[in-house]
């Protein structure tokens, strides 16, 4: 298929529809408004339903209803809106319902700003909902990955019966890049015989429920969810190793910042400095094992995030005390420049105190 030029937010919508998603429930918030706008334009054409809810809370509960009714469904929002959705995400996770949630992050806390930010790393990977649940989190760094990961997200959601989050930021949402829909090898997915579609008086009723009032039942339920999480950790980790051979220094970055880091790495290469990049493509499950592949030549690790340091916790777990860890952050909505990153690394290698 020929390449088309598309805005990131529209690419989320196009990929969802391509993946068979016909239902979308959302609420306006910058910088993701093109997603609901796109869905409101396209879903009626294919006999689907777009609904603008009265709040993010209502939207995620509509997703709960639609997912429980057995269809592919999506919602999107940005940071403060995702905060409101956390209650529903926890319920959906406990009920083991599949859905896809796009978080086109903006700066926080509170109302924050609308510029690109990665300060929702905890929100996305740890969640703000209650209980022992996890959500797979994809972090696209370019619009082709927006397409591929969104389509994968629906499959992963259905395969494991779990809400899947895609973590982007305003830059990914707003920029345009050529994309194409590639041939995909589909996964074999389980049928949804658990769905609440009406019994037609032909089967026992299904009930979509997260209440386990008997503590033994709740414990059993949680261990079942845990086993599923472990399976996902085993099978669904994705990451990229870039220029890691003989790297004197390693940067860890995802999404938008990883693109900037690649620029910096190429610039430094011209000056004879070998720097590598570990780029997590899934933030949960996190690619801890990538840190086992860091070459002995490495003198240290730099984590670059558009936050005051959130992913760095996972970097520390993956590093497991092996290399000194440094941090470069921009938590106000500005994207760090390649020059800033190169300068930081050169300073560290020149003996800057950790």
């Amino acid at each position: 298929m020929a390449k088309v030029l598309m805005k990131g937010n529209e690419a989320f919508g196009a990929a969802a529809i391509k993946a068979g998603c016909k239902y979308f429930f959302g609420y306006p918030i910058t910088p993701q408004n093109e997603i609901p706008e796109y869905m409101s334009r396209e879903l009626p054409k294919i006999g689907g339903c777009f609904l603008q809810a009265e709040s993010e809370i209502a939207a995620i509960n509509m997703v709960y209803g639609a997912s429980g009714a057995g269809v592919r469904v999506m919602t999107s929002s940005s940071s403060p809106g995702i905060a409101l959705k956390q209650e529903g995400i926890s319920y959906i996770a406990s009920c083991e319902l599949p859905c896809v949630i796009i978080n086109v992050s903006r700066g926080g806390p509170g109302l924050g700003g609308i510029q690109p930010s990665q300060s929702d790393y905890f929100q996305n990977t740890r969640g703000g909902g209650n209980g022992d649940y996890r959500t797979p989190v994809y972090a696209p760094a370019n619009l082709q990955e927006v397409i591929d990961m969104t389509m994968d997200a629906f499959d992963v959601a259905d395969q494991y019966r779990i809400p899947v989050i895609i973590s982007a930021d305003g830059m990914i949402g707003q920029m345009m890049e050529p994309i194409e829909f590639k041939e995909r090898t589909g996964r074999s997915l389980p049928s949804k015989e658990w769905a609440a579609t009406g019994t037609n008086e032909e089967r026992e009723p299904n009930s979509i429920n997260s209440l386990y009032i008997v503590h033994e039942d709740l414990e059993k339920h949680n261990w079942k969810l845990d086993a599923k999480h472990k399976l996902i950790e085993e099978n669904e980790v994705q990451y990229e190793m870039y220029q890691m051979k003989d790297a004197e220094f390693v940067v860890v970055a995802y999404g938008t910042t990883s693109r900037i880091v690649k620029s910096a790495i190429m610039d430094m290469k011209k000056e004879g400095l070998n720097v590598g990049l570990i780029r997590p493509k899934t933030l949960w499950p996190y690619p801890y094992k990538a840190f086992d592949e860091i070459p002995k030549s490495t003198k240290g690790i730099l984590t670059v995030e558009m936050s005051t340091g959130q992913m760095i916790d996972d970097v520390k777990i993956g590093n497991n005390g092996r290399f000194p860890i440094h941090f470069l952050g921009s938590p106000g909505g500005s994207v760090p420049s390649p020059e800033m990153i190169a300068e930081k690394i050169k300073n560290i290698l020149g003996g800057e105190k950790k």
């Binding site: 390449k3 030029l5 707003q174 345009m176 890049e177 994207v335």
Partner: protein
């Protein structure tokens, strides 16, 4: 040059976003790597809007243009804001219809195009951006003018197809009006 990095800036409504988009689209049709990144949010309300466009032979790491090879200033605030983002030896395209000063920068190439006046001669105030685009393409050689015409044919379909000739005309006017 294998790497073109544009900052295109002006009032909201001057068509700076679509100018960048057409450029990116044409680059894609010519098989190049392209990115387009807009300013967004309250910035878009009444103030200066801008977009960053990169057209390259190699994969593009960052879509943000920190050092531009070309700056396009459709109004005065754009010139003030972005002239320092131009790399040495870069080109600045100035809408002489609305800007009557010169850039402070040295070691740059400056071009003056009376985009609005030319658009008015063509009896369509909305196509000043196309006049400017014609000049940019002529000077930078970033894409071929024929490719841009192809983009216009894809963009203006049905009812809007009647706008194609005047847009093409504007591009041509811009082409001859460099320096």
């Amino acid at each position: 040059m294998a790497d073109h990095r544009f900052i295109i800036s002006g009032f909201g409504g001057q068509g700076v976003m679509s100018m960048g988009m057409i450029l990116a689209y044409a680059g894609m049709l010519e098989g190049k790597e392209v990115t387009w990144l807009p300013s967004y949010g309250p910035e878009m309300r009444g103030g200066t809007a801008n977009c960053h466009v990169i057209i390259s032979d190699k994969p593009i790491s960052s879509p943000i243009v920190s050092k531009a090879t070309s700056v396009v200033a459709m109004n005065l605030p754009s010139l003030t804001k972005f002239q320092d983002s131009l790399e040495d030896g870069g080109s600045i395209f100035i809408n002489a219809s609305l800007i009557n000063i010169k850039p402070d920068r040295k070691n740059i190439k400056d071009y003056y195009i009376s985009a609005n006046d030319i658009a008015m001669q063509l009896q369509n105030s909305k196509i000043a951006n196309m006049v400017m685009l014609g000049a940019i393409i002529k000077e930078t050689g970033v894409v071929r003018i024929e490719t841009v015409e192809k983009v216009l044919e894809k963009m203006f379909q049905g009812e809007k197809a009647k706008l194609i000739p005047v847009n093409k005309e504007a591009l041509k006017k811009g082409e001859v009006l460099q320096n």
